[in-house]
């Protein structure tokens, strides 16, 4: 290994000579500076290379040819090497971004940059307490220089505050060092750690001072106002260095002194870190200035990493390897994402200081820029496949193992807030994109792009390291990447490619799909392929749609084939990610997507904790002996995903605002993933659910309420997609109810309902997509009379609503029959009555749907619209055929379902010939179909036989008392169709869920607002915070 001292010598020599070299020209001097930074990077790589594969041991280097107690020691171990690499990589990237300003500013800027990075490297390498101080000062002072280098006035303001905090911190550190020397007798950390004097009453205080100084440098809440101001105002390149490189170095410094800390001090570190994580995220949610927001996020992340490092030791969560994996993973994630985002924020332009003016001044990003921003933002919030995801999983798993539930709550809660505001920001960026504006990538996008690529690369690597190596689980990302590469290709080609990808996935996964999984594969994979096909209905490449749709579909497939909790959760979050981006693609998807992803993540977090708390395999087999309550978390998480009443608020927006075909995919296919997991979870852990009867009954009522209120909300909608969205919610409610029955009849019902819902909701969405495409509006009252011009779509909708409402003889009735039979059989009479009411209510919106769109008076402007495109009608035709077949021969559908369920439960329902028999009653689908057809045919012929001289009449030729109507707008009864119903029962649908969550959001927001009152902008107050923070910390450690 290269002696790192030479690197310091090089850097210093280069820095000293820079003013001279600068006389040769700025290019030469900057080139020298960059080369020096690169040399650090190369050396770091060589260290890593030497340390990892061969496992060459950690090496130490002394100065002046002496060893430890006399000389200063530098140590190169794995964490040091990685840290060095991070510092130099971030340094180079930022330098690239700052290049122009560096070229214009005095040479002092380049010197400061070089010295700052060298200082950070020194912080990482040194094992000497006082030397650590020197390097901290080098990097701080160089940073002060850098803050001012390009002469931003705001940066100067912030810099002064920074210096005040830094000054206090260095005074503390010096006091700590000297007393550590006094009581420990050593300046070398490793030797001091062995000295008993440091653990005495006085030595602990000395260690406390060291710790306090380091913590302050790590910008803990609430003593971090100065840091936020700096992040906000300085050159984003410098922000990247501070938030990435400097934080890495300081965290490693903290890690270094941890051996001399006692338990009380470690707890304080953990507590302070978590408090920072939580509070900064809360405040971050209030930010409208992107850089300030990123600043809060940085501070939060660093707090989390520090807390994790402390907790690892405090709770013995694992060995150093665990700390590297988790704290390191989180840090790496933060480092890459934040560096990329800060650098990217340059491209967004300079935000003004006022929140209002800011939005206008931000520029839209090119598609590539947006994509990179997406990768970085998504990585930052810990979605797969990025390192943060894996680290968070390991962390939660370990914390669950240590039974630290409160910590989990804090961490995940704050993570959710962070996801909220980071994705809100990303949504705003994505929303600014020009429609199909193929702007080239911005200048300076290379840095963020590299960060994004590294983030992905490390993410994949850490996933593999955690044992998620199943190629099928990674298939979504492969498909995403492959299709993004051909994103400029015409839509039909990409559709075919997506279908091919799904087919290939299905082929590969086929052997692993048992009955239940195969059943769901039809809906999930088949549905995905179908919607990929349908996506051709709009011309043009529809950029981004196919990759995401394909990824989402394959993620659904991956959920089916996952065989470990982590694999499953990975697939689940992949699905969340892909579907979030799909929603975001919608025209007005920004808000809806945000709600979708926040609730999606919230649900996923519940799932994660549940999974983490249950040791054991992830399979469709009963597992005994586990704690029961985690299953409640899993169910809760799934309920969020399924949009159960109360946590449904994301649902209408997400289903309504995404592209019309995507809505169908989300509602009919994707929602079944939750059903699948619910079934698997109940099958595996249903036996250990605490208070089983009560819990299931409650679950049933939740499902029921969802069904009822979904229907009630649906009837008041003017927007056809909203109607369908609420309807989906209601239908899923029935599935939940049926699952809660928890016997053979119930589950048969659930699966049957799920499949049916897939069929008819697909038909509806596809038909409505065609209608919307043709008429160009989503408001039903602006349509009317379309039966004449779009008869096929009408037929499709007609069959779908007959099926959905459960009117015999179509298969929807089978679902109703099964539902009531199983409910009554179970003795859930009241549930049955409410379900009956809900299904009657469903009738209302279904009729409204078909009436206001297809019947009534056509609008003149829509009299010439054509039938929907073939890309939509072909799938609809196929679905109609399936629906008819399934209706006439219920066994086609029910035999496989009952086969699957038969593995788990004793039979209640059975077939006698074509008659399905329950203990209470019977239903012969085939016979009732025949009777209906015959009766209908007879009536039809009766009608024809008596029809004399039929005369079609013109549009307004209707029976009116005195005048003839002439305006379809006044004659088509469509708007506020159920006004009397609203008058009678409108009070039920006052959006309580929305209001609750809004109030909740406002509450969180105002907590954030209250907390951020801390940040008064006065540097002196910040200094006061620093001192008070230290005092509080001191008192706390004393108390602990």
């Amino acid at each position: 290994m290269v002696n790192p001292l030479y690197l310091f010598a090089c850097s210093l020599a280069a820095a000293f000579l820079l003013p001279l070299v600068d006389k040769l020209g700025r290019k030469a001097s900057l080139g020298l500076a960059y080369a020096t930074v690169a040399a650090w990077g190369a050396a770091a790589l060589s260290y890593l290379w030497a340390l990892f594969p061969g496992g060459s041991p950690t090496e130490s280097f002394g100065t002046a040819g002496f060893a430890a107690p006399l000389a200063i020691m530098l140590r190169v171990g794995p964490e040091e090497a990685a840290g060095l690499l991070a510092v130099s990589a971030v340094g180079l990237l930022s330098a690239g971004a700052m290049h122009r300003s560096l070229a214009k500013a005095p040479i002092g800027g380049a010197i400061a940059l070089l010295m700052a990075l060298m200082g950070m490297s020194g912080i990482i390498l040194t094992r000497d307490l006082f030397n650590l101080f020197v390097f901290m000062e080098i990097s701080s002072i160089a940073t002060y220089g850098l803050i001012a280098y390009d002469d931003r006035r705001a940066a100067l303001r912030a810099g002064f505050k920074y210096m005040m905090a830094g000054g206090i911190a260095s005074a503390l550190y010096l006091i700590g060092v000297i007393y550590a020397y006094r009581f420990g007798g050593q300046l070398n950390i490793d030797l001091a750690a062995r000295s008993p004097g440091l653990y005495g009453a006085a030595g602990t205080v000395a260690a406390f001072f060291l710790l306090a100084a380091l913590l302050i440098e790590l910008k803990p809440f609430p003593a971090n106002g100065w840091a936020i101001d700096v992040y906000q105002t300085v050159d984003p390149g410098l922000s990247a260095i501070l938030s990435g490189a400097s934080a890495t170095a300081l965290l490693l410094a903290l890690w270094k002194i941890m051996p001399i800390l006692g338990d009380a001090q470690l707890s304080v570190v953990a507590g302070s870190g978590l408090a920072t994580f939580a509070a900064s995220n809360l405040v971050g949610a209030r930010q409208s200035n992107a850089r300030r927001m990123l600043g809060y996020s940085s501070v939060a992340q660093v707090g989390l990493v520090a807390a994790v490092a402390a907790l690892t030791r405090l709770l013995s969560l694992g060995d150093d390897r665990f700390a590297y994996m988790v704290a390191g993973g989180l840090l790496l994630n933060h480092l890459l994402a934040k560096t990329g985002l800060f650098l990217l924020s340059r491209a967004l332009g300079e935000p003004g200081s006022q929140a209002g003016a800011q939005r206008r001044r931000e520029r839209a990003l090119s598609p590539i820029g947006t994509a990179i921003a997406g990768v970085l933002a998504v990585g930052l919030v810990g979605l797969p496949p990025f390192p943060g995801f894996w680290a968070k999983w390991s962390l939660i798993r370990a914390l669950a193992g240590a039974r630290q539930w409160w910590l989990i709550v804090v961490i995940l809660g704050a993570s959710l807030v962070e996801a909220f505001y980071v994705l809100r920001w990303f949504g705003r960026i994505a929303d600014m994109r020009g429609e199909d504006g193929y702007a080239g990538p911005e200048a300076g996008i290379a840095g963020p792009a590299l960060c994004a690529a590294a983030l992905a690369g490390f993410g994949i690597a850490s996933g593999l390291a955690l044992g998620v190596g199943d190629p099928l689980l990674w298939a979504p990302f492969a498909a995403l990447a492959a299709l993004l590469l051909v994103d400029r290709a015409p839509g039909w080609l990409k559709s075919l490619l997506s279908i091919a990808a799904v087919a290939a996935f299905g082929r590969l996964a086929f052997d692993r799909l048992d009955g239940l999984r195969l059943f769901f594969a039809v809906m999930l994979l088949g549905g995905g392929a179908m919607y990929s096909f349908a996506a051709m209905y709009k011309r043009g490449p529809r950029r981004g749609l196919h990759p995401l749709l394909s990824a989402a579909t394959l993620a659904l497939g991956a959920i089916l084939v996952a065989d470990s909790p982590l694999g499953f959760f990975f697939a689940w979050e992949t699905m969340t990610l892909a579907s979030y981006l799909l929603v975001l693609r919608g025209k007005k998807g920004e808000r809806a997507a945000l709600g979708y992803v926040v609730f999606g993540l919230g649900g996923a977090f519940l799932l994660m904790v549940g999974l983490a708390a249950i040791p054991g395999a992830w399979s469709f087999r009963p597992t005994g002996g586990a704690d029961g309550w985690p299953i409640l978390l899993i169910i809760g998480g799934l309920l969020v995903k399924l949009g159960a009443l109360g946590v449904h608020v994301w649902l209408p927006g997400a289903y309504a605002e995404s592209d019309d075909d995507v809505s169908g995919f989300l509602s009919s296919s994707l929602s079944k993933a939750g059903v699948f997991v619910m079934i698997v979870a109940l099958a595996a852990f249903g036996g250990v659910v605490p208070f089983q009867a009560l819990t299931l009954r409650a679950l049933g009522w939740i499902g029921l309420a969802t069904a009822l209120f979904g229907a009630l909300y649906a009837i008041y909608q003017e927007d056809v997609k909203k109607t369908l969205a609420w309807s989906s919610m209601g239908q899923i409610g029935y599935v939940i109810l049926a699952l809660a029955i928890n016997d053979q009849a119930g589950w048969t019902t659930a699966l049957y309902l799920a499949l049916n819902h897939f069929l008819y909701k697909s038909m509806l969405f596809l038909a409505i997509a065609g209608v919307i495409k043709r008429v160009g509006t989503r408001n039903m009252y602006e349509m009317g009379g379309l039966i004449k011009t779009m008869p096929f779509s009408f037929l499709s909708v007609l069959m779908a609503i007959i099926a959905l409402s459960g009117v015999p003889p179509l298969s929807g009735f089978g679902g109703k029959w099964l539902l009531y039979s199983s409910l009554l059989q179970k003795g859930w009479y009241l549930e049955a009555a409410v379900a009956f009411f809900a299904s009657a209510v469903a009738f209302l919106y279904l009729f409204r749907l078909i009436h206001t769109i297809f019947l009534g008076q056509p609008k003149p402007s829509q009299s010439t619209v054509r039938e929907a495109p073939l890309a939509l009608t072909i799938p609809q035709g196929f679905l109609m055929a399936v629906l008819l077949a399934a209706s006439a021969f219920p066994r086609l559908m029910l035999d496989p379902v009952m086969g699957v369920v038969g593995d788990v439960f004793d039979p209640i329902l059975r077939f006698e010939g074509s008659t399905l028999v329950s203990p209470l009653g019977y239903w012969d689908g085939t016979l009732s179909m025949i009777v209906t057809i015959v009766v209908f045919a007879l009536c039809f012929f009766w009608m024809l036989a008596n029809l004399h001289n039929p005369q079609p009449v013109k549009q307004f030729n209707i029976v009116y008392a005195a005048e003839r109507p002439f305006k379809p707008w006044t004659t088509h009864y469509a708007w506020s169709f159920y006004a009397p119903y609203e008058k009678a029962l409108g009070f039920l649908t006052r959006r309580r869920g929305e209001r609750f969550w809004e109030a909740f959001g406002t509450g969180v927001d105002s907590v954030g607002g209250a907390i951020r009152r801390v940040y008064t902008g006065n540097g002196q107050t910040y200094a006061l915070h620093v001192v008070l923070y230290v005092v509080a910390l001191y008192l706390l450690t004393g108390a602990l």
Binding site: S101, K104, A105, I107, D151, R152, R153, E350
Partner: protein, 99 residues
């Protein structure tokens, strides 16, 4: 013990001038008093058998620092006196390179 007493006297002087430096209304007085603190400190250092440090403190702490302070103060006072056309310039204008 004599040295201790001397140190205590110097310490008292330091604390007094320190408080004076902070409390004084006049910046120049503050600066000079803080120089005085450093000077007293260097005496203390000398008494403690640290002549190296004493020299450094005297030269840098009390000498150079004071000069730097005074210059900085003068510089900012100039800014006050000057016709402040420049202040109207937008602070973000980054025209000024070193060249």
């Amino acid at each position: 013990m004599a040295i201790d007493i001397a140190i205590i006297v110097a310490g008292a002087f330091m604390v007094a001038s320190g408080i004076g430096a902070i409390a004084s209304k006049s910046l120049v007085v503050s600066i000079l008093l803080s120089g005085g603190v450093s000077l007293a400190a260097s005496v203390v250092f000398l008494l403690m058998g640290a002549p190296d440090v004493a020299m450094t403190e005297a030269a840098i702490g009390s000498g150079l620092t004071t000069v730097v302070f005074l210059y900085a103060l003068a510089r900012s006072r100039q800014a006050d006196d000057e016709d402040s056309n420049e202040r109207l310039e937008a602070p973000a204008s980054r025209s000024g390179g070193s060249k």
